[in-house]
Symmetry: C2
Subunit: 463 residues, 2 copies
């Protein structure tokens, strides 16, 4: 069926003013007087509602006045200006058809609900203002990421979700299997016989697409992944989900400096895109969720990110007395309190911290000439601390192999990853951005469960 | 490091001609004479190579001449026209630096390799012409899908990968678990105790995001999903993968006709986008993989898709004698041979077949007034048959519940899906496009393993 979208009416008002339009949507509020009434209708295309005026010249006036919230209706009427009123225009209805009735038991009544309660009705919560805004921003941010990379000629790679590799040290993994749990096949040694499993071997859900991404960067130069990743850590916090989406670009012929430039450009681009394409939603967050949000995000877009080494950062932090719960000294990882102090108090803008001690970073990071640090970078932003982590990758076969052995990894399982260093290796770099973390940052939402349509966390996989 | 990309040189030649440029990439071929030599360099940004001429005025002339294929180099030189030659221009090198050596054991030597062999080196195969083209097209097609929907205001939804719902009848599922397989916890009845599992219940990998997508369409009106889905069917064919990506749009206030319009527009858009943005790759497929490909795809873009009912299709097919392996009669599902006959022989263009018998279609499809058929649609295209399947969804709570019970489904597990019919239901529709199937169709590749970077199939989860 053909309807005019509410978004069109708001964005191109002149085109529709004093015209007959047909719109369809769901009743958000309804109030009636003796001879007329008002409906706030939302049609899903736009954050704002549109006001409908109906009166008793309509055959079904009485029926309309009794409609429960969330009923779906189709309205034909005239779009007129309403000078001096709260809303810029309204539709004077000439016809109101009922598409689908709701009931007075509808759980999302007008009173404010707690975010906790709304999680229990995750199938309905996108009909509320908060979640309509969150998931619109999520969709736009996802598209901004694709657009950023595609406009720059990057190749989008779907790295595998099911992996036959051992954990890469990034966290606990979920097993993927078709074995019958009530009758697990065993081999002669009494061990689980994974040769009977679907893939003929033990498999898990991926924790990162980086290694596969590297192999594509050595063919296509500039690539990115954007897909779901998984952790089975038993962490029941507001920042941990078992299933979340990650963006992992990987660039060849590129060092840590190139990597930081890319990360800075990307983050600024996503934020700008969302500010530009979701002004109503961002205004809502700024007013009701996180006052100061738009100013903070605008500052990020307009600032030149700072760059300091980990060693320098530790020097700064060591001079601060009595402020931190955890002491800082060279060799230990920075805590969120330290990260936030650097970006919020010292530099008052985003900061790349580079060249971390090799022992606190992953095996694939490039060893610096000092033999003590690796070419890693973390991007710290005001409000949360680390938002992006990346590094130049170790391109030397010899150093990579020796590091892997040092960490007790089975190098033969990584034969293909090591191959990349044998057949025309290049300096190359990459980073990871947790998509949900970015959405929390851009919306001011503080629980990861509230930026994922149907979140999966410890003991919770509803819907 | 700053290099000029080979793509820039091909696309904006005039800007670089007779200038000094620095490029970096991997040697595809090298041949030398006594005093000079030629290198075909690919830098990953572009399908085509660029020719480098080097001579013995370079200090490292001898070293260069011995470089193995796939060695990474950085070249500085002058871009000059080469009138009359096969290539339009070449770079006269003034400097050739070695970034990373390859070896003479490099597995991708110039001779043609079988696709089967190349699957065993999936980490290197994107360096070959065929796979460079396949995965460039895959990336562009993915972006085209996002662009198509976002330009139309559709919301991108990340539906969950791990699902706590029972199978939706779409196929066999993989279990996701952290239980210790060598010591599976049992309850008093001796059954597997899933309350001890990570999510406190039995969970699987999703087979479809449709149901969750529907809940978002009832809030945002027009949405789409684009994510990985899984089947653990024991099918070792060229068309089955255990892990593949699906696109599932869902539209509210929309019937089957709206659904077909959307599917037609989308398919034409994706194909046009790829033809326009990957001309070199598509020319390659047309010449070496599937002669006639470009003509077939262009025909699809330019044709108005046909629409016939299943009943009419069966009438047509019943009249054809002795052509089919399987007989057709009203009530049975169409085989690929029937589908291809309709689209290739009868209509010579894409065909939507609609209104299938209710017994051969899924529970969520809208029952037609005849009580015998459902408002389903399959899109058949020349060359393969069905490429898209969709339907109008049953919006009546009563009919949906009774259908589910008829099929032995536990309606209480779908409480939230049924809720959508209680609280302002609307006519709504949607469809699914298997992404890999679309890529195979657009490239002419005939094995699904060859359009997935690292494919997962029965007994195979390498890399």
């Amino acid at each position: 069926m053909k309807s005019t979208l509410v978004k069109q009416i708001y964005r191109e008002t002149d085109k529709y003013l004093n015209q007959t339009v047909t719109i369809s949507g769901w009743i958000r509020t309804i109030r009636d007087s003796k001879n007329f009434g008002f409906i706030e209708l939302n049609d899903g295309s736009f954050f704002k509602n549109i006001q409908i005026v109906y009166d008793n010249t309509l055959d079904n006036f009485d029926e309309i006045s009794k409609l429960p919230i969330s009923t779906a209706i189709i309205v034909e009427g005239n779009l007129v200006e309403t000078p001096g009123a709260k809303q810029p225009f309204e539709i004077k209805a000439t016809k109101v058809e009922i598409e689908g009735l709701s009931t007075h038991d509808y759980p999302l009544q007008k009173k404010r609900h707690s975010l906790e309660y709304l999680r229990t009705i995750a199938h309905l919560r996108p009909r509320s203002n908060t979640f309509a805004a969150v998931f619109r921003v999520r969709s736009l941010a996802a598209y901004a990421i694709h657009k950023f990379f595609q406009d720059r000629g990057f190749l989008y790679v779907h790295t595998p979700i099911i992996t036959g590799s051992d954990a890469e040290g990034a966290g606990d993994m979920f097993r993927v299997s078709t074995l019958d749990l009530s009758n697990v096949p065993k081999n002669k040694e009494g061990e689980v016989d994974f040769s009977k499993d679907f893939f003929g071997k033990e498999t898990h859900l991926t924790v990162s697409g980086q290694l596969e991404g590297e192999s594509y960067a050595q063919a296509f130069r500039n690539i990115y992944t954007f897909g779901p990743t998984f952790r089975s850590e038993n962490s029941n916090t507001s920042r941990h989900a078992a299933e979340f989406w990650m963006i992992e670009p990987e660039i060849a012929f590129a060092d840590l400096e190139d990597n930081m430039e890319l990360a800075e450009d990307m983050l600024k681009y996503i934020i700008s895109y969302v500010l530009e394409n979701a002004p109503e939603e961002m205004e809502f967050f700024n007013s009701f969720i996180d006052k100061g949000l738009i100013e903070r995000l605008t500052n990020i877009v307009n600032s030149d990110f700072e760059r300091i080494t980990y060693t320098k950062a530790v020097e700064i932090l060591e001079k601060v007395k009595g402020k931190f719960e955890y002491d800082v000294e060279w060799g230990v990882d920075l805590q969120t309190e330290h990260e936030r102090y650097l970006t919020e108090e010292v530099f008052k803008k985003p900061v790349f911290v580079t060249d971390y001690p090799k022992d606190i970073k992953a095996f694939y990071m490039k060893l610096n000439d000092d033999n003590k640090t690796v070419a890693a970078m973390d991007l710290l932003v005001p409000g949360i601390g680390e938002i992006i982590g990346g590094s130049q990758r170790e391109e030397s076969l010899e150093k990579l192999e020796s590091k892997m052995k040092e960490q007790g990894m089975k190098t033969e399982e990584y034969w293909w990853y090591l191959d990349l260093r044998k057949f025309g290796t290049t300096r190359h770099s990459g980073f990871g951005l947790g998509f949900e973390r970015a959405i929390m940052y851009m919306t001011g939402m503080t629980n990861i469960r509230d930026v994922i349509p149907f979140s999966r966390t410890v003991k919770s996989a509803e819907f």
